[in-house]
Every structure is written in structure tokens, then in C-alpha cells.
Symmetry: D2
Subunit: 322 residues, 4 copies
């Protein structure tokens, strides 16, 4: 299933009949399907909380053993600016009273860890989400940046679908695919129903495997497991009014669509056309283990990406509240 680059159909053609939510929330909308997250949805999420257990879903940043990252991006670098050593060496700040402090900085890609994508992060043709011209991305995203997502925040009722557990695996295989019908079958086996406007979390086990897999194996061919495109899947996402898709992979979908060779068609069908917000690189193993143990696969989900002005995305540490 390898594809000659020139034989791969262009997205303009491939998605020409794919549904769009452009204009649905007005010509100035910048948050897309997050509009589904009304106060009622927040209350529906709150109502799912039973035990008060919480799980944070971000991965470590600037871990000494490395961070999982899209090839070509650099991993985050944390740098100590001042610490105890400076004070011992007489180079600290002489604060009145004797306070000492440690300060540091970070250099990182905004898509370099657990992250929300701005709706305008990817596109095809000449337009991003809601029909804004792609030129709004130049020199920083002027429309549909991560700032607007972050300003709204993401709070709602979420459900976790554990595809790896469903298939009896610790982690799905490189390039292994699944569809929305597989999601429904897994949900049925888990005893949970995916409801309209649910924030959808899908576990493959992939990201957490980074921490026990050699780099050359994890990144080989850069081929992750994930959802694959079909018109029916896209329609299902639209009908279900999914506001936000979150996975424990770097790309949120199988990197290269096997039938056509197109790179990341779901990013475009779901995010660019339907305005569905994407969150990636979540760590879901601990949450999944707990859900399997107590049988509760739904919860309140709260995520506050950073309000980076004009940003293409933002690192984030989402929280599941069960």
C-alpha cells in the first residue's frame, strides 16, 4: 500500500463532497464545534462525576529520556536561569530578608507535547476553518488561533474508548487502523454509550508505549495506529456533534491514509471542514486502567490550553474528573 506521490488524489477532489460546518456559528466563529459545549453540556459532564477521582492526561515535557514528537520538530528544552548553585557561588539576587529562588525558561514547539491544535493549524486549498483565507496563518494565526479555543476552554462530558483493550492488546500495532464502527463496538463491550456532544477520547496505548520502546522502533517509518477516513465516519462525527477528539497518538489518525496515501485526511475533514477540535499526545493508560477497574468510562473533562496569541496550538494538561 505504498503510493506514488503524484498518484495521490488532491484533497480538493477527495473531500469535495465532505460536509462542512462553515458559517454554522456565524461568519466570525473561531471555535467551531466547541460551540456544542454549552452550559448544559458542562452540567451533563458534572453529573457524570461520582467518586471524585482525577486523572491528568498530559505527558512529561522536557523529560531527560526524550518526549514523543512529530518527526522534524525539536523536543522541548527547559533551561535553569537561576537556582541554588547561583546563590552558593555568590551570583544569586540579594533579596532583602534572604529569599532565594529558582527560575527557568522553556523553548518548545507549540505542537511539541500533549496539545490542542488551533482550528487553522492545517488546511487544504486556500481556506482554513470557516472559510477564512489561508493567509490568516501568515506570521501568526489571526483567525481561529489557539487563543480563541483557550479563551473558551474545553469543559464537557467525555467518554473514553479503549481500542487497545477492545482488541486485547497492550498497545495497537504500527499502522493498525479502526473506524467509527469499531469505536461503537468497543463502547458496547465497555458498556458505555457514546452520546451526542461527547468529548471523545480514544486510547491506542501508543504514546505511553514511547516510554518503554526504543526510539528507532517507536519512530520507524513514523506510522502510528489510528482512525481511518471514510465518508461514513465523517458523517458520524458530524451527526454526533462531537466537539473534540482526543487521542494518545501524535497524529490523532493513522498518519498516512492507507487507501489513497493522503496525509492526515481526517484532520481536514474533521477539523478544517467540521470545526472539530483535535487534541493529541494524551497519556491515557492510567485513566483506562481505572475505568476498566471501576467500569466507569465517562467523566467530566476539563482542558485549558494556554492563551497563546496567534498560536497554532498549545501544550495542555487536561484533567478527567470521575
Amino acid at each position: 500500500m505504498s503510493h506514488n506521490h503524484e498518484d495521490v488524489p488532491h484533497l480538493n477532489e477527495f473531500l469535495k463532497d465532505s460536509p462542512k460546518n462553515w458559517g454554522k456559528w456565524g461568519p466570525d466563529d473561531e471555535v467551531g464545534a466547541l460551540n456544542y459545549l454549552t452550559p448544559e453540556e458542562v452540567l451533563r459532564g458534572t453529573a457524570a462525576v461520582r467518586s471524585g477521582k482525577t486523572f491528568t492526561l498530559g505527558v512529561p515535557i522536557a523529560h531527560p529520556d526524550g518526549d514523543p514528537i512529530w518527526p522534524g520538530r525539536r523536543t522541548a528544552q527547559r533551561i535553569s536561569i537561576r537556582d541554588r548553585g547561583d546563590f552558593l557561588a555568590g551570583a544569586g539576587i540579594d533579596y532583602a530578608g534572604g529569599l532565594q529562588d529558582a527560575d527557568d525558561m522553556i523553548i518548545m514547539m507549540l505542537q511539541g507535547s500533549t496539545q490542542y491544535d488551533a482550528l487553522a493549524h492545517v488546511w487544504y486549498g486556500d481556506q482554513v476553518w470557516n472559510g477564512y483565507p489561508a493567509e490568516v496563518t501568515a506570521g501568526g494565526i489571526k483567525k481561529a488561533s489557539v487563543f480563541t479555543l483557550a479563551d473558551k476552554g474545553i469543559v464537557g462530558h467525555a467518554v473514553l474508548i479503549d481500542m487497545a483493550r477492545y482488541r486485547g492488546k497492550k498497545v495497537l500495532t504500527r499502522g493498525e487502523t479502526f473506524t467509527h464502527e469499531d469505536l461503537l463496538a468497543a463502547a458496547a463491550q465497555q458498556g458505555v454509550t457514546i452520546q451526542k456532544r461527547d468529548i471523545l477520547l480514544i486510547r491506542t496505548g501508543w504514546i505511553d508505549s514511547y516510554y518503554y520502546t526504543p526510539d528507532e522502533e517507536f519512530y520507524r517509518d513514523f506510522l502510528e495506529p489510528g482512525l481511518t477516513y471514510s465518508p461514513e465516519l465523517v458523517q458520524w462525527f458530524q451527526d454526533m456533534e462531537i466537539p473534540n477528539l482526543c487521542t494518545d497518538t501524535i497524529a490523532n489518525e493513522v498518519t498516512i491514509e492507507p487507501e489513497t496515501g493522503i496525509v492526515l485526511p481526517l484532520h481536514l475533514a474533521l477539523m478544517r471542514n467540521l470545526g472539530i477540535t483535535l487534541a493529541e499526545i494524551l497519556s491515557l493508560d492510567k485513566l483506562a486502567d481505572d475505568c476498566a477497574a471501576d467500569g466507569q468510562w465517562d467523566f467530566l473533562y476539563s482542558a485549558g490550553p494556554l492563551k497563546v496569541w496567534n498560536g497554532t496550538g498549545s501544550p495542555v494538561n487536561p484533567i478527567a474528573i470521575k
Copy 2:
């Protein structure tokens, strides 16, 4: 009330009778008073949710007009790595199918925006929170870094005290102080009770004033309004088992304690000694306006600082869920 540097008492002496929670949660504890945030507290927070309204409390990062920041730190810099312009100029990536994308990076101080401090961020003498030697901060914080706070997450029942509104002001004055008794009086006026283990948010109006105040005025003498130290105040925080103090100022307390000239004594009495987590630079005006309008000053609070390995702090975008 200006002080000669050499006449300022040392914190070793000044706080020698101040209470400590060291060891209370074991010798290996790294999250301090966040231990108070048990599942019961999460449920108490959830129970406070009534309308489903949400408010994000982070400030913009890398805003073109500047970001409020502790003097001497550099503001965040967001940098476009790839965007529409690159594709127009033939320098984009040739993804099969025609996807185009925008990517960016950020360079920022970990304490350079709305933020959580690691418990080991500041100290006096030779020890940080829980008695770890201050050397744990050298080259990156090895104990009580922001990673452990972020790994736990901060979810609980919160109350907002609006000191500016209480005093009939849009924003408190430079250097204006208040005590825990003022907090209690304001709470009474608001018709809300500060309960044990509440996450405490205090509004002064200061940070939001940054956006309508000239820099030379905002930063003049770098003197913010805020809480002032007293032994009674420290005891009250300990007795109330406050897990987390959040304010809309850069320092969370009046920068220089007026009686003694000590810099940031509450950081040390509350965070270093009692393990109370500090969050700073929150934007609270919109939330406060809503609370004043509907009379509900308590809510579920959810904050996910980034899991920066060895970090002194982390940018964050907390969410209030009413």
C-alpha cells in the same frame, strides 16, 4: 516605610516561630497542601456547579501589546516556523494530498504568565519545602518541582474574594494591603463563607488593569497591592487547610512587606513552610463580574499546569466552573 537593606531582618529569624507542615505528608511528599484535595473535595467542588457557566482565568501569552511580568524576566516570544506564506513561496512541505500547515514555537519563562509555582521555587536558609536541601533546585528542580503538582492536577472547591469590589474600587491601589480579616469581611459582604480546604482566589483588579494602564505606571516601583504577612494570617491559612492561593497579581502578596522590608515573606511562610501552592497572574475580572451578577462566589476549580520535568513553575489556564 523604606528600609535599609542591612536593617531588614533575615527570614531565618523572622519566621523562626512560623508553623511548618514539613513531614505531615511523609518525607517524600512533593505536593504539600494539595494533599488536602482528596476526592471528597473534588465532589464538594462538583456540587457547587449550578449553571454550567465556565470562565478561563489565564492571561494572553505573547500579546502584541506585551504581557505583565516580574521585572527582569523577558516576556514570551511566539515564533512562526511555517505558515501559508511558506507554501505560497514554494517553501512549504509537499504533503501527499495537499495538506498545508502552520507550526510555531515559543520561548518563555516558566514564571512568565499565569502560572503555578513549584513548591521549591523559593526558599530561605538551606531548605525548600518539606526540608529538602536547597541543592535540589540546582540545574533543574529534583524534588517538589512543578511536575509533581501538574501530575496531580488541581481540582477542588474554590471561592473568589473580590477585595477591589469590597473596597469600592475597580482596582486596588499600588501597594495597598489587606489581611485575612479583610478577606473574611469581604466574604461576609459577598454572602459567601470560606470553608476549610477551599481553593482561595483573591481579586485585586491589578492584572486586568495591565491592559489599560501605561507600562511606566503599571511597573512604577514595582509595587503591587496584596496580602501582608502576620503570624495570625499564616495560622489562619494553616487552620483553614487552604491547598492553593490564587491571585490576579504577579507576586500574590504585596511585593515588599511594609513593616520589615522583607521581600515576599508570605511565599516563604505559606509555600516553603506550609506547602500551600501559589498561582499568580490570574485574570479574574470577568469571573468576578459574573459572580457579582448572580451572587454565586464559589465554584469548581480545575487547573492543569504543564508537566515540565524539573520545572520551577508552569504556565496554566485555570478554569472556573460555576
Copy 3:
């Protein structure tokens, strides 16, 4: 002499009769007038050395009092990564034998200090030096970057013209202009002849004044002294086969051409059209004082900008050898 933006003539029109050296050194040339710097010119430079005195012409980088820089660019930031403090605090590296070390990083604009411009650093219309399409600059300069200049290096016979001293001033005034005829008059007064293929250094005193002038005064209206455009001046530079123009200003010419309001027309007439390399922000006061003292205004000039791949420019510390 302020100009309405829309009344300013476009460079396409303004320079339509201005001479070009495009193609003179072949269609693949990337170093322009540096081609004049043949071995013969190196020998002419070496022959000018008499006393063996040397002068370095770079300004400090990351100076605690700030660096002179084009408004909108950030000054360089040097950051200690490891130093004695880390070793005192037990966070150094345990090198066998007991070596200890200090290590740094730097974040800086490539045009943020004493610098060479890549020939493709600025342009008008759709083409850069030698007729390459301006698209060669996208995502990093593919043609006529600073790498090619740096790979050649700049070594030749140079002459210093001290315009400030000629006009009896310590430093020229904000916006004060001069022409090639003024250069010739100053040279005559200095008793030196500008010869064909001389590297031309012009002193205004401006950059060195940065270190004793308040920022608000130095940067007011950002209006430097400098050369002004005239067709005759451009022709003179071409006839003289000047390979490299170096000044102690940020822009190398008066920032806004007073007659027309055009920004930096000489950059375009000299660099983009004639291929003359520009070096800026040189510190020339010490060298000029020495030349005035010993009467020797010419010397061997040696500059090695860094070989930054695809770079728009490079910091540099040129050396004058008298």
C-alpha cells in the same frame, strides 16, 4: 519633510534606471562585489600594514546595559547552562579527574549586533541580488545567503572615512546626511585617497554614542545619520568597485531617504542591484582615534561572518590591521 505613505514612490519606479551588476559574475553568483576581492586586493591590504596594531570592530553582545538594535528586533540573550554554582550544588558533571566547566547558549537575531547582511537580506519587486526570485528567501535563504559570504570571507584593503571628525563633531546628529562627495572631501582632509576596490568604512560616531546616550534619546523617531541616495552616488560606488560598505550605524544609510520618504533605498541600489556587501553596527571610535593620531587611515581588513546555513546575516567581529 514627512511623507504620506501612499505618496512615496515605489522602488520599481524610483530605481528603474539605477545600474545593476546582475550576471556580471555569472548566473550562479552569490557573493556579488566581494568578487572584487581578488588575491591582488588581499596583497594590497597586507601592504598597508605598517605598525602591526589591530582593532576589533564588533560591539558587545548581550551587554547588561543593552545592545543597539533595529527597533522591533529583540536583543541577544546569553544564558548560563552550567557553571561553578552547579558544581558547588552537586549538579555539575562528574568528569573523571575533576574537570569542571561552564557552558552557555545564546538566543539572538542574526541581524542583532555588528553584522554582515546576506545579499538577499532585502529586496524590492520580485527579485533579490543577481535576479534570483525573492522566493529563494522563504524558510531560509537558498541563494545569496550569508553562508556564501562567510565561506569566502572578507579580506582586503580598507579605508576609514571619519565624517564626524570631518564635521568637527563627536557624533553626527540624528538624521544628518552626507554624500559621496562629502566622503571625498573628508578623505582629502584626512590625507587619504579612496582607491578602487577599497573596503569602505564610514564613521559617524553613532553606535558608540549608544553607550553614553539614554535609550529614549538614541531611539527617538529611529532616525540615524547616514549616506543619502543619489544616482551619482550609486554610480560612484559602481565605478569605484567598492566590495563592501561598513558603518557604525544600524542601517548604513539615513533610515528614511529625506527627499522621497523611501525606506533604505541605498540598501537596494547598492546591495540588491550592485551586489555590494553591507556591514553594520561597527564600533569605529577607537580605530578612528588611532588613525587620527598616527595619520594612517588605511589598513588590512579581515572579517569572518559565521557560516550560518541559509542565514539572512551573521554577527561578526571584524578586525582592522594597521
Copy 4:
């Protein structure tokens, strides 16, 4: 010849009888053996110029295939801030007259390319060059930083010794060593004499091999070829009053001294104790080929490291003028 870390002798003991030049140029000296580079030496260098050929000796920075670098340091990152794409997409700056420009920044280690070390870059015991306490390095080097070297500049008479060619190899083998007596034998074979106060360049072929060697091979065990320590070698460098040692390796000496297991003892014997300036990662193959062709192995050498305030080192692009 592998060594148990604890069996490796400490440099305090190992070098206790090694000669020092501390105080030789006064208690405030910060440039050490560069003091040997008097105007007379500059004239001696100039006198060596015969043909006017020039060679730049820096390696590419931020090369797409990577840069050779000491393990643990990050390679330089050049980032486009503005370019043609921004103007095409309407995000450029609207300069009056129509100028367009490209602007870059760089993030790099100061020891991350062809570089000069500050004299205080490495030390043992509690003191750096000239007896300054090692605390001068904390938070940025206050004494004997690269600024002082850069402010002086390095200009003098240089000789190239081609150890690889002497041994009939394109490049010396991993871990292959040589001594000052080997240098003298090679010089004799080349027909050149190493004179007092010569800047000494040694070619191993190592750095240029980086560009045709797979990374896993180049960095395996990180073991470079190079000089090895002996008391006689140190004495020879002192007697010869060598101001500056430059090589085409990352470490300038065999990384781990084979007899004792000490890391980089020559850095300490030569730089810390004798004040000899070290330059590393030079590209010498082209220069060596030319010298072999014309039989001229000596030349004028000119290097201007950047004047980085408090810096541990600086990237540089030295020039050999034959």
C-alpha cells in the same frame, strides 16, 4: 585502557607540578597567552603572506545534515522570522517604497560550532585562569570570559601541522594520539619550522570527516584523535610561547587521556594553567590541500570571536591569509 572512575587521579594531584603562567601578565589579566601576540607578531604574520589566497576555517552552522558537536549539547537552530512568504501572504511589513526583507534568529550553544573557549571555560580545583576563583563563572563569566579574547582579537603568524597527511591518512583513527614530538616530525616532513609565538593549527581530518561519516560512527564512544598529555609536551608549549592552539576536532585533544582516564587534561594544563587560548572544530582540509600543493604551511591568521558579554566561548570563522 578503560578506567574505573574512582581510580582516576584528581587533577589537583596530577598537575601539581605542571607549570603556570598565572600572574605573568599581572593580576588582572584575562587574555593569557594572547599577550604574546604583540604588534611584532602581527607583522611577522603579515610578512608570511605571499599569494593573497584566503581560506575561511569555520564549519557550517545549522546545516540541514547536522553540525558536529560535543555530545549533550544541542545543535544550532536558525529560524526564519520574516521572508518572502510573509510578503506574499500579506503579513510582511509595509515599508514605504516597497522594500521587503528577510530576518532570522538563531538559538545556539556558544561552544556549538567552530569556536574559541573563554580562558575560564574549564578549570579544576577552585580556580580558573590566573587564579581567579571559579565563582567568577557563576551566572556568566565575570573574569576571563570570551569577551576579553574577542575584544583583543587573534592575529598572528600561524603554522599548520597536518598529522593525518604525515601519517598517510585521510583522517586519523578514533582515539589515535600524537605528541609534540610527532608535531615536530611532521613539521620537518612538511619543510616548515614551528617558531616561537606561532599560532598552532593541527589537522587530523576529523571534523571534515563528519560530513561524510554516519553519525553513529562519528560519535561512537565519542573518542576523537588528538594530542595526549605529557609533562614534556606542556613544557614545550610553554617554552614555545604558543598563544593559541587550533584543531579540527571538538575537544582539541584526545577526549580521555589513555594513561590515566582523565578527561581533557590538556585543556587544564594548557588553558587553565598556561593561559593558552583554545579554538576547536576548525575545518582544515581545504587549507591543508592548498598548503600541500604550494608547499607553504605558514600564513597570517586572523580570528574575531564575537564579543559575547560574560560568555564561555564564541562561534567564530577564522581566516588564513597566505
